[in-house]
Amino acid sequence: MSVAEMPDWFVHKKLRGNLIVARWVPAALVGLPVLVLFAIVVYPTVWMFYHAFQDTNMMRLFQGNWSFVGWDNFAAVLSSGRFGDSVLHLMQYLLFGCVLQVILGTILALTLYEVVRKEWLRVILLIVMVLPMMLPPSIVGVLWKFLLTPSNGAVNQALLNLGLIDAHVEWFNAGVSLWAIIIADVWNWTALPLLIVYSGRVSLPPAVYEAARVDGAKGWLVMRRITLPMLKEVIAIAFIVRFMDAFKFVDLVYVMTSGGPAQTSELPAYIAFQRGIREFAIGEAAAYAIIIFAISAVLIVLFLKYLKKVLKAQGFA
């Protein structure tokens, strides 16, 4: 039936609400949550966007006499060496933190599923490996700060006993303290990508693997040609989740090193936090927050486009 022959009732029919619920119900259902979200997210965001262009600090905020300074805050942030270093630290954290965690998580999840045959053993191992995710950052920070104390920390002692090092490692010196944070973070958050990839693997269709077995494919060939391609989407989601968290990661930096020594372990989000809360340079902190959000948003959108292309090619999307 080509368009020309369409009956006239069909050509100009208008979308009618369904009979079951009045039109306003969906809007009402979403209304309250959106309202709450508006108050706790949109309002602060707008407030920050506004103050990012002012020279607000604590004093001026109380007196209410801040003034418009255009892009100065942004210029100050972008030109400061401190911000440049922190971005480098962030790259280091992203590479050895996020990427490493997703790779580790994937390998562990697949090993747990493919190699550990007994069901009860697999459940216990899963519980143990997900334990660190259950701990608050303050506990993790304190714990690892204690473990890594250079003089009599358990880690140095263990490494000495194993002969891997011959002298104490000064974990909290400049240039090394960021690694301490990364180690603690890997220990704390690898469990999340592990759980995501494990859940993804659990829900793959078992019949496909039997077909592979009948076709004679085994071990690595199955992993490379069947399992990993099917898990691409899930691994990507694990990466995005960790990537989003990385950009706003402050807790361990604050607890373990307070960005020290001499700002060598600062991350952009931490500086924003420090400038905003401790030093009350609110205008500048707002600029920081917006720059960080911009970078992460751009990278994620690029990543999603790439992911959509890959999935399209695979026939998923």
Partner: protein, 373 residues
């Protein structure tokens, strides 16, 4: 090609505490190039049997031979057996072409030869136009053809189909049945078809193995199962519309043996030979099985009855279904069915005389349900 022999095969599933005996002492032989169907209700052990032949399931006891070579410890690939799955189990991330060529890729067949084989198989299955697509974009029928293709491309010794028709629409199923028969005629492969649908099994297979709660009831050609069912289960399971059963007693032996439905006037006359076997069995209680197709409306001047009998009954329901009419009748409180010509215009309550040939009367022992005469 391969001749498959199962001898005293058992499968016991052990899970915490209790064990399920899924297949009991199965003896079955599939000749080289033969098309055998394994038929039975769900849970009768047919799928476990299939998985033991393919090598996806470990054999608890007994042996499976491919051309007299014991294959118990060989994996599916070594047995050179191929399988089409009920849920198609196509590789979702591969195109159809990759799905078809993957089994060859695993065997290290060079790319050029793979492409050639894929293309002429696609021609046989008429799926050339969808080689570039992904399984998710295909209809049930197309996916099913691709899954057949993936199994066929390796030129396996044995080709096994596991309930491949259960997700196909009714009218498409007819074409598919013809195609499967055509493929078997063209390739002459040894094929094993597992299904719960007796129409598919009887349509396709040279011989059908009927299973029920883990034991093999009977193996036979369509006519053997139809005319000489070994017990009530097989007689009931085979046959569309379902067979009618009447609990009876042996009333009188001799030349005109009569079986009478308990305390009613309903009697069934059988051939003298059948009478002798019934008397010889020394039993009194039997069950009579009569297929609706074998009850003919006694048209005035109809074909004269060879040795047989007549039933009078009242029409309860007249179901006109286009090609034929199915009458639901009641006689002495027994409700049964008869199949009649499409133009039968009998209404509810009309008295009818039905003729049957003694040869079509099946008599089973009431206790053992085994066929006696």
């Amino acid at each position: 090609m391969a001749r498959i022999r199962l001898s005293q095969v058992n499968k016991i599933y052990r899970s915490r505490g209790h064990a399920v005996h899924a297949v009991k002492d199965l003896d079955l032989t599939v000749e080289d190039g033969e098309f055998v169907a394994i038929l039975g209700p769900s849970g009768c052990g047919k799928t476990s049997t299939l998985r033991m032949i393919v090598g996806l399931e470990e054999i608890s006891s007994g042996d499976v031979f491919f051309d007299d070579q014991r294959v118990n410890d060989m994996d599916p690939q070594a047995r050179n057996v191929a399988m089409a799955f009920e849920t198609y189990a196509l590789y979702p991330n591969f195109t159809i072409e990759e799905n078809l060529s993957f089994p060859l890729e695993v065997r290290g067949v060079p790319a050029a030869e793979r492409r050639k084989k894929v293309h002429n198989l696609a021609a046989l299955l008429r799926i050339e136009d969808i080689l570039g697509q992904k399984p998710a974009a295909l209809s049930g029928g197309q996916q099913q053809r691709v899954s057949l293709g993936r199994a066929l491309i390796r030129d396996p010794a044995v080709f096994i189909l596991d309930e491949v028709m259960s997700h196909i629409d009714a009218h498409l199923k007819f074409q598919m049945l013809f195609e499967l028969k055509r493929i078997h005629q063209e390739l002459g492969k040894t094929m094993i078809y597992v299904t719960h649908d007796q129409v598919e099994a009887l349509a396709l297979a040279d011989r059908v193995a009927v299973m029920s709660n883990a034991t093999l009831q009977q193996v036979g050609t369509r006519n053997q199962l139809y005319h000489e069912p070994v017990n009530v289960f097989v007689a009931d399971f085979i046959g569309e519309p379902p067979t009618n059963f009447f609990p009876v007693e042996l009333d009188s032996a001799g030349d005109q043996p009569l079986l009478r439905a308990k305390n009613t006037a309903l009697t069934f006359s059988v051939a003298a030979e059948q009478g002798r076997r019934l008397a010889a069995s020394g039993r009194r209680d039997f069950v009579v099985g009569l297929r609706p197709q074998n009850l003919h409306l006694d048209m005035p001047g109809g074909a004269d009855a060879s040795v047989g009998g007549v039933l009078t009954a009242e029409v309860a329901i007249n179901e006109y279904v286009g090609e034929r009419t199915i009458l639901t009748l009641v006689a002495d409180g027994h409700r049964f069915r008869a199949q009649a010509h499409a133009e039968t215009a009998l209404g509810r309550g009309e008295q009818v005389r039905l003729r049957y040939a003694s040869a079509d009367v099946m008599v089973f022992d009431a206790q053992t349900e085994a066929l006696v005469a």
